[in-house]
Amino acid sequence: MTTTTPVRPSAPPAARRRRPGASRRQAAPWGFLAPAIVLFVLFLALPIAYAVYLSFRTEKVSGLGLGSGARTEVWNGFANYAASLADPEFLASVGRVALYGVIVVPTMLGLALLFALLLDSRRSRATKFSRISIFLPYAVPAVISSLLWGFLYLPGVSPFYYVFDRLGWDVPSLFSSDLVIFAVANIAVWGGVGFNMVVIYTSLRAIPSELYEAAELDGCNQIGMAWRIKIPIVVPSIIMTFVFSMIATLQVFAEPTTLKPLSNTISSTWTPLMKVYRDAFIRGDLYSAAATSVIIAVATFVLSFGFLRLVQSRAFGQEK
């Protein structure tokens, strides 16, 4: 999202001359910025710098490694990065998340756009109620929704499987190795559609009604209006939601972690962030975990900005 600042005409020379009180005036903005800068440095920049520092370190044990002084922290160069990138479990988790993204993002955004268009269409009834009920799942924390869905996925306790069983259908368990990715994706879609719908719906509401009047005069129907007017105008919102969804996909953690104890098919390195968690808190290796985190952060950064650059001209062309 670039906003190009117009070139300011050069200030008249008089303004450049220092006047008494100028230094105070220059200090004022810094004073206002200070809280934000302090918080940013303390709680974001420093931890990131520390994580990067840790990612180049490791802990070496000597002998049996029992008692005090058995562990020393040493410099490890890029070895943690090399180990992460060469780890077949990490590569498998990246592949899994890519597939997960291919399933989740189009489904979620497609549904969000569809619901937004339906709510915006003039013939819709009970829009307020529908809007809230579609949005509501977003308000449910991921851990809670995963527990709820986990219950529904387990054949022994699920009402769905009870009905399938009564109908004589043999429906495979959603926790089987082929289907588990859809089980996880479903939770993300269920939770994410509402938020994305609201973003798209808001920009639909901002479309001036003259456009619709003009289109009606030209004999355009509702579907035509959606296709030719609404969707092209909300493209920037769709792109924004796409970037958010992509970032959320790369960071998927809560859903599979919550479902893990219910199934045999979700391993402790099912997604990249789960590997980070396992390395840091189960294996006690903060250093590898830091290296993998940096890799994930860089990948997220490159993917989001790369994508934005790619679509910039089309999406935000009108802003220029």
Binding site: L39, K60, G65, N264, I266, I282, R283, L286
Partner: protein, 436 residues
């Protein structure tokens, strides 16, 4: 409400300051006041321990213990290790599961209290004492409870279907098959890929001890003959489908225990509490028997769970903390209170006879419950844990997850071999001396 930027900034700074003070004031023991009582903090997750501690505090005005309730074994250990790394914030006294002790000692999180407590070695089963000393002269914790394994079964369904209680693993397999033949919806048990401690107990029963200390080096024997035998046996049962392959501790498993689909559970002495919570409709229908045996002439069992109480390396009052621990886990009063309030199975031998006179309420139908328990507890073999148990256990989850899903006997033994490889490689890459 509209706030000026200045007010907002002030609010943010104030809340940040609050946050920082909140972080820095947690945990840790304060320096002793000139003549006030010694203040000790105690991290534990056992229910109602605060009530046990109340008795201590009333009787010992000089040593005041404050209980800080934890979520459970794993999160508490993670917090402790973080505090040790940070250099402050650890409690004085810490409850820890036996398998975590080498990890904690390796991280220099526990104090050696051999000089602070009396010689307690003969008051505890040998295997459990070995867990808190790591086979050395040091004492890193005092055992609190132990988890000898037994076989829990639905006596009513066994009777109804004419099944006999298996005493050997061959009989267990035959009973599982007979049950499936009589009623295909019912299972005698499940192989849980999410409970590494359970599989460790089964392997311990067969004679395994996955780690060992040889001179100045660790040895790793996850893929020893005993463990491979256990994996092969369960792989066969799962492959033939007579045993379920779903994890334990899921809503589905709870429902199955409650509605009589799972009619047996190879579990430990704390099982009555779990069954009472997860299968409340089945009160009075369960019974407990010793584990099925590999060799009926040499009865054995394993341990699943159990914990000890330790003094952390950050405590400024190790002597007072050790005094409290000794009272809690090795005195008649402490053990009585623990049994009464928290429902644990005490590891302390002299005190347990008096403390365990009544069977648990959920097993009121089995008056000799604790007699059988005491007999089986004596047969638990010794098992040495290593400094990277978590690595091995997480490898168990991943490898056996695949194997149980595939329902393949060959995959079960391959999973054990993969666990061995992961464990060994982790020790070596961390720099431990390892003898192969």
């Amino acid at each position: 409400m509209r706030l000026s930027t200045g007010t907002k900034a002030a609010a943010i700074i104030a809340s940040a300051a609050l946050l920082m003070t909140a972080c820095s004031s947690g945990g840790g023991s304060d320096a002793p006041a000139a003549d006030g009582p010694v203040e000790l903090t105690f991290w534990t997750w056992a229910p109602n321990v605060d009530k046990v501690v109340e008795t201590w505090n009333a009787a010992n005005p000089d040593i005041h213990v404050t209980v800080n309730k934890q979520d459970g074994g794993d999160p508490a250990i993670t917090k402790l290790l973080t505090a040790v790394k940070a250099g402050s914030g650890a409690p004085d006294i810490m409850q820890t599961e036996y398998q975590k002790i080498p990890t904690l000692v390796s991280a220099d999180a526990l104090a050696d209290i051999s000089g602070e407590v009396a010689d307690l070695a003969d008051q505890f089963p040998e295997g459990v004492w070995n867990d808190v000393t790591l086979g050395s002269d040091a004492v890193y914790a005092v055992p609190q409870d132990s988890g000898p394994m037994q076989f829990y079964y639905r006596a009513d369904i066994f009777e109804q279907l004419g099944l006999t209680v298996p005493t050997t693993w061959d009989e267990y397999a035959a009973t599982a098959a007979a049950l499936q033949a009589a009623d295909p919806t019912k299972y005698l048990g499940t192989f849980s890929a999410t409970d590494a401690g359970w599989f460790t107990g089964l392997s311990q029963q067969a004679g395994a001890s996955w780690w060992g200390i040889d001179g100045d080096s660790w040895t790793v024997a996850v893929d020893d003959e005993a463990t491979l035998k256990v994996a092969d046996y369960w792989g066969g049962l799962v492959e033939s489908g007579v045993i379920d392959n779903k994890p334990m501790y899921t809503p589905e498993w709870n429902a199955a225990l409650n509605n009589g689909t799972q009619i047996g559970w190879l579990s430990a002495i704390w099982a009555p509490g779990v069954l009472e919570g997860n299968a409340p409709d089945t009160a009075g229908l369960w019974k407990m028997a010793p584990m099925p045996q590999w060799d009926a002439a040499k009865p054995a069992t394993g341990n699943w769970g159990g914990s000890a109480t330790a003094v952390t390396s950050q405590s400024k009052h190790p002597a007072e903390a050790a005094q409290f621990i000794e009272w809690l886990n090795a005195s008649q009063e402490g053990v009585d209170l623990l049994v009464e309030q928290t429902g644990i199975y005490p590891a302390n031998i002299p005190a347990s006879a008096e403390a365990l006179s009544e069977p648990p309420t959920f097993f009121a139908n089995q008056p000799d419950f604790y007699e059988i328990a005491a007999q089986t507890a004596k047969t638990a073999g010794s098992f040495t844990y290593g400094p990277n148990v978590n690595v091995t256990y997480s490898a168990y989850n991943d490898e056996f997850g695949k194997a149980t899903e595939a329902k393949s006997q060959a995959a079960f033994t391959a999973a054990v071999e993969a666990m061995q490889k992961v464990t060994l490689e982790d020790l070596k890459s961390s720099g431990f001396n390892v003898k192969e």
